[in-house]
């Protein structure tokens, strides 16, 4: 009935209808990322095949024995990817065996050892979730926060200091205190950039980059010989925090899985609720989508910019605190392999949607973690994972390539967006 004319459908019939075609749109949203990941896996496989020393050795003899060469290539890729997946999701053969040992002997050491890998993927994903959310919140508010790495550092340092400098608190005070210290430090550090933008019009990309440098150098100084936060150990690091500030682990050694993961999941839901269910979130999204319309609508654009930056920074800061209180228990400059920078890619991959960020973070965590095993078992360099991540991002950013490879047609919605402007529509 509704198909018959272009008339408006009376609102009465609208009410029971759910938000138009949720499943359809979810499917549409997922097509490109899934194909992008698949394509990146295939392409990285080719790179692995053509760069493995065993293959390179054989390559000159390709025309004499093509079968052997292709076979070697195939084996190399399969070994590498098998190791990658076992590293990421666990070696299920080993796990089953460990379960048997445990049920027959009651000795669970083997079991926990076998379960370490899959849980380690979650541990690796946790900082990605926080930092990815931080970038995503910025994007939603129309801000490009490149300073997430610096804010992560700020959070880690603050929580480290609160963790080791205060003794004698019960854990239920010490831990929240250290966490909030991290949140506040990140919020302040990012808030500076927001304030500069709102009051002086300084571009946030530039000033967050500058704030990154300041934070990195500040960290070096704090941890340097004779620096204020330097611990007694010979290395440039802080003292260990008191166990009362630890984010507790949930499973026996060597599994490092800790409460931080659930904090991260909580942050995902919080960000979703904040952005889509609150008036302030509405303001953030309006400023992000159209600052001019936001001003017209009576929104205090400057204040929203500061707030968005602060929220973004607080998520990054919490990420830093999480790493510190959950894993390292002391601050070293090398505690982050660049989570704050990978987070930009991750937020793009997740389309700045908190649940999209969660999914991408889990993927990145799994890949990072699996890569370690891939390197040790198949001697494929970990860097291939960076190549793979880069390709995923490139395909997501340029969906036309993916559509072209798989001969997909652009969905009608998107058709429209390109040019749906102007009075005439």
């Amino acid at each position: 009935m509704t198909q018959a004319t272009a008339t408006s459908i009376p609102p009465a019939t609208l009410a029971p209808a759910p938000r138009a075609n949720v499943w359809r749109s979810i499917l549409d949203t997922l097509t490109i990322p899934v194909l992008a990941i698949f394509t990146a896996l295939v392409a990285s496989g080719l790179i692995i095949a053509f760069t493995a020393p065993t293959v390179l050795e054989l390559l000159p003899t390709f025309f004499q024995q093509p079968g052997v060469v292709l076979g070697t290539m195939w084996n190399t890729v399969i070994t590498a990817y098998l190791a990658l997946f076992q590293g990421a999701f666990g070696d299920w053969g080993a796990i089953l065996q460990a379960v048997q040992t445990w049920s027959s002997t009651g000795d669970a050491t083997e079991l926990w050892r076998a379960l370490r890998d899959p849980f380690e993927s979650l541990v690796a994903a946790t900082p990605y979730i926080f930092t990815g959310l931080a970038v995503a919140v910025g994007f939603k508010g129309g801000l490009f926060n490149i300073g997430v790495e610096g804010q992560l550092f700020a959070g880690a340092i603050a929580s480290a200091w609160l963790g080791f400098a205060i003794d004698g608190l019960p854990w239920f005070i010490h831990l929240p205190l250290a966490l909030f210290g991290g949140i506040a430090a990140g919020a302040v550090w990012a808030g500076i950039a927001g304030l500069l933008k709102a009051t002086r019009g300084v571009n946030e990309v530039i000033n967050t980059i500058m704030l990154n440098y300041i934070m990195f150098l500040l960290t070096d100084w704090l941890l340097s010989d004779g620096g204020p936060l330097r611990g007694s150990a010979g290395a440039p690091r802080t003292p260990e925090i008191y166990p009362t500030a630890y984010l507790p682990r949930l499973l026996p050694d060597p599994v490092r899985f800790h409460w931080g993961f659930f904090l991260a999941i909580g942050a995902v839901f919080f960000v979703y609720w904040f952005l889509w269910k609150t008036t302030i979130g509405f303001e953030v999204r309006t400023v992000g989508a159209s600052p001019t319309a936001a001003k017209y609508a009576g929104i205090a654009v400057g204040r929203v910019i500061v707030l968005t930056m602060a929220l973004s920074g607080s998520l990054a800061g919490l990420g830093g605190a999480n790493e510190l209180l959950g894993l390292n228990h002391y601050m070293v400059a090398a505690f982050s392999p660049g989570y704050g920078f990978d987070a930009i890619a991750l937020a793009l991959l997740g389309k700045s949607n908190p649940f999209g960020v969660l999914a991408s973070a889990l993927l990145f965590g799994a890949l990072r973690n699996g890569a370690t095993r891939m390197q040790s078992v198949a001697s494929v360099p970990v860097d291939i994972i960076s190549v793979m991540q880069a390709m995923i991002i490139a395909f997501i950013a340029a969906p036309e390539i993916v559509r072209w490879i798989y001969r997909l047609r652009a969905p009608a919605q998107q058709e429209r967006e390109v040019f749906a402007r102007g009075w005439g529509g």
């Binding site: 004319t5 138009a20 017209y296 009075w423 005439g424 529509g425």
Partner: protein, 524 residues
């Protein structure tokens, strides 16, 4: 002679909408074909299909009697089809020449782009079709009318001989529109064929050789401009008879709502955009601001609504000093504002229709409790407004960008007209609307007036100003050069005032001697 272009059975569906339903249309060589229809009838969609921006679900396109496979604008251009969208696709920081070359950078003198050669070609085209434009100027320094010329030159430069213009006159001043018509007649005389979309029936009757009317995605008829009239066309479009004039009782002005004293607004580029203006609007009356676009009306509206800083002077609304008030403070004083640029200020295009229907009210009950949004209320109010203002969309969850141009405008009007408003500042409130919707909006404005709202109406449409206003102030070069009683105003007298001609010198003691000589120069 076979038609140069033929559309056969074109059908285009969007989720929940059949935008084009088996449309047949022919275009003959050397004719101007007007496409008419209500907001949302499917005109833009059909043209976008023709230009390759949409893929039709059914139907075929024949060009010069041969089936054409158009999968994108590139194919369309190759077949000689060119389109001017309502909002121009020009790059402001590039020159005219660079914009014309854009996308076709084939002309080089060895290695670098040969701007000189292209500029020369632009000059040739200018002369040939009367499209005066300086190729070396930057787009951002050109008026809307001139920018549109650049768009047309772009098409001619690409050798298009089938030209599509989607509501080209919506943002033009009457003078600019007349210039455009002259250009179109020249183009036609030299053998080009033109499809022209508009809501202004007068233009259609004046310019078109043939008229096709769409309604609800279907062709409902065609007409010959020589043997039809506005009323008949309006009836064909809307499906009922439309009263083209506004019926209103004499105003009963009450207390002063808006008081503006010696207001000056500065534009960083152009000096004083609004220069020492004073006026009042009372409850229950409509004050119309007439004037050629670019004489300070835009800046005046922005200053009054908190979107632009006031340089000096004083604005009072219902006794509150609002000279430096924010948009939110004004909203709290029950001031409504229909902004001139609907896509820039009035709407967040990427948001669903429901959000835009409460864009300035989301923060207070019933739409919010504390900081949490009440979606039930938002949806209820949105559905109500949708119905009341006949906004054509399959649902309130559709992205606003997907609405037709006129329906986007209705979203703003629906939002701003709801609730108890004491002052309504409306800039071009009916821009892009069909005759039926204009009738409706005009009646609502008068209804508001009669209910005691003070209305400040700014419009380029002299007809609109004359039929709605009780008093008319004419702006020229940032000043109000005269205020006349609408009942006594004539088009001719207003036209002269808009050109800066002061009939009764005693009326305007404020005009400086320089300004006077300037004006006299202009008359001479």
């Amino acid at each position: 002679m076979p038609p140069i272009l033929e559309l056969r059975g074109i059908t285009k569906r969007f989720p929940g909408v059949l935008a084009n339903d088996h449309i047949d249309l022919t275009l003959n060589q050397g004719e101007i074909h007007a496409l008419l229809g209500e907001n949302g009838a499917g005109k833009s969609t059909l043209m976008n299909v023709l230009y390759g921006l949409y893929h039709p679900d059914e139907g075929e396109i024949l060009i010069r009697d041969k089936p054409a496979h158009i999968t994108g604008p590139r194919d369309a251009i190759a077949q000689g089809i060119g389109m001017v969208h309502q909002h121009f696709m020009l790059i402001p920081v590039f020159t005219v020449t660079e914009n014309v070359m854009l996308g076709d950078e084939s002309i080089t003198n060895g290695v670098v782009l040969d701007r000189k050669k292209v500029a020369q070609e632009i000059r040739d085209l200018s002369v040939r079709y009367g499209l005066e434009v300086n190729p070396d100027l930057y787009i951002k320094d050109l008026s809307v009318g001139i920018q549109q010329r650049v768009e047309i030159i772009k098409l001619l430069y690409r050798k298009a001989d089938i030209l599509i213009l989607d509501e080209p006159t919506a943002v033009l001043t009457p003078q600019e529109a007349d210039d455009l018509f002259q250009v179109l007649r020249n183009l036609k005389a030299q053998g080009n064929s033109i499809i022209f979309i508009t809501h202004k029936l007068r233009e259609v009757l004046e310019l078109a050789d043939r008229i096709t009317v769409l309604r609800l995605g279907k062709v409902v008829g065609s007409a010959d401009p020589k043997s039809t009239n506005s009323a008949e066309l309006a009836r064909m479009m809307v499906g009922r008879s439309v009263i083209l004039s506004v019926d209103k009782a004499p105003a009963q002005p009450k207390e002063v709502v808006l008081k503006v004293e010696h207001l000056t607004v500065r534009d960083p580029r152009a000096g004083d955009a609004v220069n020492d203006i004073s006026f009042e609007v009372r409850a229950g009356e409509v004050l119309g601001i007439a004037g050629v676009q670019g004489n300070g009306q835009t800046e005046l509206a922005q200053a009054l609504t908190g979107l632009r800083a006031v340089e000096s002077g004083r604005v009072t609304i219902l006794g509150h000093d609002t000279t430096h008030a924010t948009p939110r403070q004004l909203f709290e004083l029950d001031v409504a504002h229909v902004p001139e640029d609907r896509q820039q200020d009035g709407l967040v295009l990427s948001f669903p229709v429901e959000d835009n229907l409460v864009l300035n009210e989301y923060y207070r009950p019933p739409f919010a409790q504390g900081i949490s949004l009440n979606f039930k209320e938002i949806e209820r109010a949105a559905a109500e407004r949708l119905k009341e203002y006949d906004i054509r969309t399959p649902s309130i969850f559709v992205k606003t960008a997907n609405l037709s141009g006129g329906n986007q405008q209705k979203v703003i009007v629906a939002r701003e007209f709801t609730g108890p408003i004491k002052l309504l500042i409306a800039s071009q409130p009916t821009r892009g609307l069909d005759v039926g919707s204009i009738e409706y909006i005009h009646n609502r404005i008068i209804e508001k007036r009669d209910a005691g709202t003070a209305v400040l109406l700014i419009s380029n449409e002299l007809d609109e100003i004359m039929s709605l206003s009780d008093r008319i102030a004419v702006m020229y070069k940032g000043r109000i050069i005269d205020t006349v009683n609408a009942a006594e105003a004539t088009k001719e007298a207003l036209g002269l005032l808009m050109a800066g001609v002061q009939q009764d010198a005693a009326h305007a003691p404020e005009i400086s001697p320089e300004l006077k000589t300037e004006m006299q120069d202009e008359i001479a």
